[in-house]
């Protein structure tokens, strides 16, 4: 469905763009319908840039991003509108995603006038009700309210509901639960799991390994804009082959295991891939790829 092929993004920096900064370098992966792919990386790894390029909020310097075989870079305004009816994004901060002086009905109504102008009032109400139900929000609790009257979890679920008003096929979720409290974040995460069951493809961008592990089918570890490891989530977390992945996993604070007793992860250190001439990813198992280890940091 979504195919990201050897994508690179270079930002111009400095006065008159004299410098340059490579944010993403040669990243390739795909997202299939009904699948959650998590994109995990530390700050500066380029994970957000990948999401923004998919949503056409910024363009790729090199490489192609295609959706159902069409290159999204070539889209004009009308094509983009069609594209956004199928692909939507939800971002980190639910409190600044809304216009604070608009009631949420109006925020949702703007989507209707742009994408669904021919919908009758009755159909609209039905669509609204069913998408609110899909995110387990009671319409009476949220409609007619201002954003500040709702909790972060409610706002974030409403953001997903807004995307669901359209018959989207891909959701780009960039750190959507990082700002939520522990007791409510799991509900939003479960919601993604349920949507996946309905055939939605989800790109779950996060820095939190345990969240990625919980929800995703496949995992992509990014470092300095490059893919370090890519594979089915149980394999990447259960049998990490790249030293960076192992180091990351060893640093994750866990509730029932102390940092000191991380021998479990280290002992599993099977030799990772040896470098090949191309510097590309190397298959170590079915569908499981790692980047060659760098000798010098």
């Amino acid at each position: 469905m979504l195919r990201v092929d050897d994508v690179t993004k270079v930002y111009r920096t400095g006065l008159f763009g004299s410098g340059s900064q490579t944010a993403v370098s040669g990243v390739s992966f795909d997202v299939r319908p009904g699948e959650v792919v998590s994109l995990i990386g530390e700050s500066g790894s380029g994970k957000t840039t990948v999401g923004r390029m998919i949503l056409r909020l910024t363009t790729a310097t090199a490489g192609t991003i295609s959706f159902d075989g069409e290159d999204v870079a070539g889209y004009n305004r009308r094509d983009l509108r069609r594209y956004y009816a199928r692909v939507q994004g939800v971002f980190q901060d639910p409190f600044s995603s809304y216009n604070p002086v608009f009631k949420v009905d109006r925020v949702l109504g703007m989507l209707r006038s742009t994408y669904l102008p021919r919908l009758s009032d009755q159909e609209w109400k039905r669509t609204l009700r069913s998408s609110l139900e899909a995110v387990s929000l009671e319409p009476a609790d949220v409609l007619g309210k201002y954003p500040h009257q709702l909790s972060g979890g409610q706002l974030q679920r409403l953001m997903v509901a807004r995307a669901l008003l359209l018959e989207i096929e891909l959701l780009v979720a960039d750190e959507i639960i990082s700002m939520l409290d522990a007791s409510t974040r799991i509900d939003v995460l479960n919601l993604l799991g349920d949507l996946k069951g309905r055939g939605l493809g989800i790109l779950f961008i996060t820095h939190d390994l345990s969240l990625g592990n919980y929800i995703s089918d496949r995992t992509l570890i990014l470092r300095h804009g490059r893919v370090v490891e890519l594979g089915p989530t149980p394999k990447v977390f259960g049998d990490p082959r790249h030293s960076y992945t192992r180091a990351l996993l060893a640093c994750v604070p866990q509730l029932h295991r102390k940092w000191g007793d991380d021998s479990a992860v280290e002992a599993n250190g099977r030799p990772s891939a040896t470098a090949d001439a191309t510097g590309g990813l190397v298959a170590v198992d079915d569908d499981h790829f790692v980047a060659p280890e760098e000798d010098a940091p």
Partner: protein
């Protein structure tokens, strides 16, 4: 007993009345103890930390006392507290990365801070260098501006700076929240290192992340809606939580190894009450699966066993 907090109530003044952000906290922190304070946003954990060192203009102490090493701290008196700040009580504030003056070199800033306390920078310098080296920073950070340092480096500078006078109590508020996992581990381990080396006697670590506390804290205090919910050793709280809130909170945390397909975790329905007009009785009552009529009366924060406290009618027996 290094720190004794007795029935502390700190309210925020607003036009609509007092917000009871911290509503009756009674606990002790022993010498050498690292106590973690955990809770969700708005539970009063930051208010608790701030009230031990400096109240901001909107806060007022409604009741209670704080005693450090046998001396009662004048927490309600901003001026009088000044004698204790930095020397006996110190803080690593939330978002410590932006606590550094952006237009001063680190060294000059530290020197100004020390001279404001009547301490000589030159005499402190060897110790300062030693401590910077300990946290993996070279001397030249003293010549740098904050903008030249990464988030983790700034966090370490603030940590060294806050503990330079060997305070009796250090309050670290969301010390690691803005950091990447690898830096997070290094900075969190510094807390233990500093305690072990005697740079600080007792530490209060405030965070929303229970799994970090399990790594570094000796004891954990869980708060909810301005009240203390449960206190115990880090192992007791995580392995054998007694209060329904703690139980549900821990059950809702995904860990590496838990997968949606295999085990679906659940959150806690509802949201915390408004602290402007808090409900009577147990504040977790509306979201608690065990709540009955007796919960309309506020449960006391009682000692269940040595060092183990909880505020719930259902576990008291």
């Amino acid at each position: 007993m290094s720190l004794v907090v007795d029935n502390l109530r700190v309210y925020y003044r607003t036009l609509r009345g007092d917000v009871r952000a911290l509503d009756g906290a009674t606990f002790t922190v022993a010498d050498g103890e690292i106590m973690g304070v955990a809770g969700e946003s708005g539970c009063g954990k930051t208010t608790l930390g701030k009230s031990l060192i400096r109240l901001d203009g909107r806060m007022r102490v409604a009741e209670g006392s704080v005693t450090l090493d046998g001396v009662e701290l004048p927490i309600a008196d901003d001026r009088a507290m000044d004698a204790y700040r930095f020397r006996s009580v110190s803080i690593v504030p939330q978002y410590a990365m932006s606590a550094l003056n952006p237009i001063r070199r680190i060294g000059r800033m530290i020197s100004e801070l020390l001279s404001s306390r009547g301490v000589s920078y030159e005499e402190t310098l060897p110790e300062l260098r030693r401590r910077l080296a300990l946290v993996g920073l070279s001397d030249d950070v003293l010549e740098r501006y904050p903008i030249e340092l990464s988030g983790g480096m700034k966090q370490r500078v603030v940590m060294v700076l806050s503990t330079l006078m060997n305070p009796s109590l250090l309050v670290a508020d969301e010390l690691t929240s803005a950091l990447d996992v690898s830096t997070q581990k290094a900075v969190a381990e510094m807390l233990v290192e500093f305690r072990d080396r005697g740079f600080v006697k007792s530490t209060i670590v405030i965070t929303h992340d229970l799994s970090i506390l399990y790594q570094v804290a000796d004891t954990i205090l869980v708060m909810y809606a301005g009240k203390l919910v449960e206190k115990g050793s880090a192992a007791e709280i995580t392995e054998d939580p007694r209060h329904p809130y703690t139980k549900l909170l821990i059950a809702s945390l995904p860990e590496v190894g838990v997968r949606f397909e295999e085990r679906r975790l659940t959150g806690i329905a509802g949201r915390p009450p408004s602290l402007l007009r808090p409900p009577t009785g147990c504040r977790f009552r509306a979201r608690c699966p065990l709540a009955t009529e007796e919960c309309a009366v506020e449960p006391p924060f009682v000692e269940l066993a040595a060092g183990r406290h909880a505020a719930c009618w259902k576990v008291a027996a």
